[in-house]
Point group: C2
Chain length 486, copies 2
């Protein structure tokens, strides 16, 4: 190491120490820690795929504290990695290995405001856990209409920053559709406050959109005003067998036509994934007596006003579907326990697939009407190009969003396969999706997982816009570096 | 004039001539004109409040031609003023008086694509006139759920660029809610193309939002894919009398509770505005036998599935409202002619108010629940501060968006009053709206009309974001200069 390098490192250390001293004074002992044991759990993503290091873990109490902290970070050029529940799928909340970044948790901002019954909305801090928001809404006869597997850890701030999806997007939209207003701390420490929802506001383009789905690269969401809807009074969960993925799409169109806005979820599961679930969770049963190539899981709901007729309407719709040859068999969950069991199968698929051995998972979207053909074509392409591999697709058919897994040949070494064929497979899947006019990230975001493929595949105008806006708002590049923006 | 100035002017002229020559070669005779008679109609806004001059009027045939034209404008540093139907309310499509700008009409891009019945959407050019879009959708049993007074001239591109509202926003949202995808030419001539709608796409924040409501300052929309909904099968239009604006809000809550998504419009009109309509259009009749302080105009709709029960449900709802003292009298339009007559009254209000003499009009929004109190407080403030003035408020109560007019004392000289008290009144109204947490532009945009008040009243973080994004995408400041961005 040359003297110059040594000098630079010493300066960095001295600068870091000065920064940490000021940050500690600003945030107090609850707000800043360098304790390795406390930090450890937050320096890797929950799936254990990304591992990082950080100067310290900061937990500001509110937007004002965060604003002051960001100004300090700007002064000392300290990169910031914001984090909510750390249950993202793309490594967007894990710092790099340099240890130069400050990990900033928004979890202390976990206040849920009074529920506004008349306007059906609630303002809450970025750190509110989704499950707690669900419970607060339910206690007032209302519902927050977005849910997903990680609801016990995912926070409002993280859900907004990644524009999270889930199983109710078909009817209610992604997180972006739930956000009426928000507050964010900008990369220079300014607070952008637009919490009070206005139904109409044409003072230029919608600035809050800059913070929805931008993965903390343009600002950190500190609070949001969210939409609530009337509580569910009734639901019917249907498990139906179909002959092909194209048949599943025809069934979807039939259900949409017959049930309109009562249709809240439409998921598809191929038979091999059901078998994987049987292997993984031996207590699981097929809701139907016999096997079929594909299954669909359909959620139909009604609020108080429509509750009474729901069961009848669902039975009539299924009867017609059967007569028209749109399904080969179907079961309606007889009670809530059975309904939960049907959903349990769907929710177990990702774990069950993962347990079968090395696999590459892809969260992709193509235009809804092209999805069935895409699945057939992509499965075919992958198994031909990589003999011995299996492709399975499952998920949100109604949204044009499937999770497309390519499973390694039996007996493959995980590390070797993932670094070799696995990597090539993911690139090929993303190439295909792009050729079909789709997106390499439907609902999990870009994070660090897909940032190279975004650079490779996005058209120049899209990359130009992403980079220009990033450069404009965060010229020092301090906010969540290495994520999303190629 | 010094020699230096003279030299600069000659250079400019030589440069302009060279630019015009190249532009003419690029666009052909249909695509470029300097004919003063042809241009005249497009150099003033339709209300005659703004007058400008331009180098020429360009009408590119498609996005590719526009892209090449923009690159030429960049080369010669020629400012661009994009224009659709020229029926905006804030002077956003009128060039300044310098004559240095190129006026760019998008009206030739007026193709309506095939209507996609299965996915209920249509892709059309920026120049499609709203009325033509309505008719194309209706011919296929569908509906484009946004309408406004200027539907015979307003274009899809202009509606998107100004995020237009109208009378159906309560149920269907502004233009932003109708846009599934779009294509735009950026300030450097690149084409951003995102016409194919994906229900889910989490490759960062939603880039198309940059072009919705940004008034052509960040790019020019050339085409869009728009949402369609099932055609209306039935409607009921109700004219109801209430004692106060607060009572109107209570009635709104009642109708929302009883009718849910059948409620499509809820407008308020004060008695003085009805009298203004009588003076302006003497054939008009009050739908009710006696006068009341306020009237509400309520539009209730049903598609095929709900059509049969609509009349019955509306009558039951009104019966309850009457019993609960929420209204003093009400009339349901007996047929379409009467329904159109009820709406005709509402649509005549702006013209009737204008005919009464000089007035300052304000398109403002406050949180919906605060609107009644705001109207009372603001009317009181204005008439006390400016004795002899009258304040009237009418419009979209359900959206928290009223048009708030302050009318000059009788006998005032228009020009003197508008430049003096009128200007002071508008500033005071905008101050008040800002204090109430509202917006100085609910649906008409900022344009050149409100750009000074935006600079004066917007909080620093909002201005910082607007300016930073503008500077990033249009560093030369060539796109629609002097509009929206202070």
């Amino acid at each position: 190491m040359t003297d110059k390098h040594l000098q630079a490192q010493t300066d960095t250390t001295a600068s870091s120490m000065a920064f940490l001293e000021k940050a500690a004074a600003l945030l107090g002992p609850r707000g800043l820690t360098q304790d390795g044991d406390v930090m450890a759990g937050w320096l890797s993503d929950w799936r254990g795929r990304y591992h990082g290091a950080a100067l310290a873990l900061a937990s500001p109490a509110d937007a004002q504290e965060l604003s002051a902290l960001v100004k300090l970070c700007v002064e000392y050029r300290v990169p910031i990695v914001p984090q909510g529940g750390n249950s993202g799928m793309s490594g967007g909340a894990t710092p790099d290995a340099s240890g130069r970044s400050l990990l900033v948790s928004l979890r202390r901002m976990n206040q849920i405001g009074a529920i506004d019954l008349e306007n059906r909305r609630v303002t809450c801090g970025a750190g509110v856990v989704l499950q707690n928001l669900h419970e607060a809404a339910e206690a007032q006869g209302l519902r927050f209409p977005l849910t997903l597997g990680g609801k016990g850890s995912a926070t409002v701030g993280g859900l907004i920053s990644t524009n999270a999806g889930g199983t109710q997007v078909l009817r209610h939209g992604n997180m972006v559709a739930q956000v009426l207003g928000l507050e964010a701390v900008l990369p220079d420490g300014q607070i952008f406050s637009a919490l009070t929802p206005l139904k109409k506001d044409n003072r230029g383009f919608d600035l809050k959109q800059l913070f929805i789905g931008s993965e903390g690269t343009l600002g950190m969401v500190t609070a949001a005003t969210l939409k609530l809807i009337p509580a569910l009074a009734e639901r019917r969960v249907v498990w139906a067998a179909v002959e092909s993925i194209q048949a599943a799409r025809r069934l979807l169109l039939h259900v949409q036509g017959a049930m309109g806005e009562a249709l809240e979820g439409f998921e598809v599961i191929p038979h091999p994934s059901l078998e994987a679930v049987f292997d993984y969770a031996p207590d699981t049963r097929n809701p139907l007596d016999s096997a079929a190539p594909w299954y669909t899981l359909i959620e139909l709901v009604a609020d108080q006003a429509q509750a009474e007729s729901l069961g009848e309407r669902v039975e009539a719709m299924l009867g017609e579907a059967f007569e028209q040859g749109l399904l080969s068999d179907a079961a309606i969950a007889a009670n809530e326990t059975q309904a939960e069991a049907f959903w349990g199968i769907r929710e177990t698929v990702p774990m069950a697939e993962r347990a079968k051995g090395p696999a590459k998972q892809h969260d992709i979207a193509v235009p809804v009407e092209k999805m069935p053909d895409f699945i057939v074509a992509a499965s075919d392409t992958m198994t031909k190009a990589f003999p011995g591999c299996h492709a399975v697709a499952f998920g949100h058919l109604g949204d044009g969003n499937v999770h497309f897994h390519v499973i390694a040949p039996e007996g493959s070494d995980r590390a070797a396969w993932e670094a070799g064929d696995g990597k090539a497979i993911s690139e090929m899947v993303h190439d295909l999706v792009t050729q079909w006019g789709g997106s390499i990230s439907a609902e999990h975001g870009i994070g660090q997982l897909k940032v190279d493929d975004l650079a490779r595949l996005a058209d120049p105008a899209r990359l130009h816009l992403l980079r220009s806006v990033k450069q404009a708002l965060d010229p020092l590049g301090l906010l969540n570096p290495g994520k999303l923006i190629p």
